[in-house]
Symmetry: C3
Subunit: 151 residues, 3 copies
């Protein structure tokens, strides 16, 4: 047990995995914030304390809320595979410097992706940051498959 | 290999991880049940056996189905990060009693969250159960980062 | 560290986990492909280079895009739990042949699920492939719980 957490690569993986997961988790309060400031809710019980005549109007979608939700969904589709593949990658014993390069590029790409998405920056900023993260995950998956392939 | 599964904290983590993942997986048959009882489907091939005049009407959304799907989505956003952070947390070697407290509060909070969401209980029951789960994950992430930080 | 990746079952798990995660990741470029060929986008910045009079028309949903997105979502709901439960399952030390049977059935079921879904094959092809994958995950979760149960 202790052995894993004494390994430098595994420590680096744990650090960056925790960082990108925390970033992903922050999308939930951000959605809540946009729901409240924009007045756009999904559930009747969430607007129960509002005046009766307003309630129905508040059960709607709002472009800003949908944008944050798409960004959150993209995190689920990108960050979760990174963490799962990254764990296996860290166990294949890569060089620490190579591993750190992968983890840093990924973490940076996802932070920039969130800024591009929520801030609606002009393309291709969002597309490029998404692609950088994807390439990191593919590179780690390639190393995993080429090291342990057992079909 | 055997070493990991002999560790008490790792055994406790595996138990609670399996429980909350199974709970999450049950949202899929629950969605299917609501789709069939409410008559609200997404795919043409799913209504191919119905009488031709009914088919188009069945390709619709229904509030009850959407509610279960939002609950499922919230599980993806909360349970998956818990399992990924929890694995790293278990490897940092916390006290068994502290670890069990984290895992039990999380499992309880997610079961109560599902009941609040699907049953549309008055707020803040759903908000509080969601927050309890989130705090557990943040607490575990804090321990991971303060134990292994390697940037 | 090296010990884990010398274990045959863990190698097999890593191989199949990487394969199904890569399959899931391919849904993102597939969605992008359908968005571009069908002309159905979600974000204003994604259509900024189109002629001004076309832009508004391109911000719409299209049934083919929604179908691929539902398939991607189903991958998130099925592949992610498989990888998380499968990791714990591999650590319980099952027979290699039993483990390989689980992993192969799951990988096959998800590839067939994608073909059924994106190709809109008649039911019950999609339902059966989904069920096969789910049964594999339940079987692995059962083994995890019966081996390590610590509540």
């Amino acid at each position: 047990m202790a052995t894993l957490m004494e390994d430098e690569v595994f420590k680096a993986f744990s650090t960056y995995a925790a960082i990108v997961i925390l970033k992903m988790l922050l999308m939930a309060p951000m959605t809540a914030y946009y729901r409240m400031t924009r007045g756009a809710f999904s559930n009747e019980e969430d607007v129960a304390l509002k005046p009766a005549e307003e309630r129905k109007k508040l059960l709607r979608t709002h472009p800003d809320v949908e944008r944050v939700r798409r960004c959150h969904q993209n995190d689920l589709e990108s960050v979760v595979p990174f963490v799962m593949v990254g764990l296996l990658y860290a166990l294949t014993g890569p060089e620490l410097s190579t591993a750190l390069l992968h983890f840093r590029v990924f973490a940076g790409s996802r932070i920039f992706h969130t800024i591009s998405y929520v801030g609606a920056l002009p393309q291709p900023s969002r597309a490029l940051s998404w692609t950088a993260g994807m390439l990191v995950t593919f590179s780690m998956a390639y190393r995993v498959l080429s090291t342990v392939l057992l079909l």
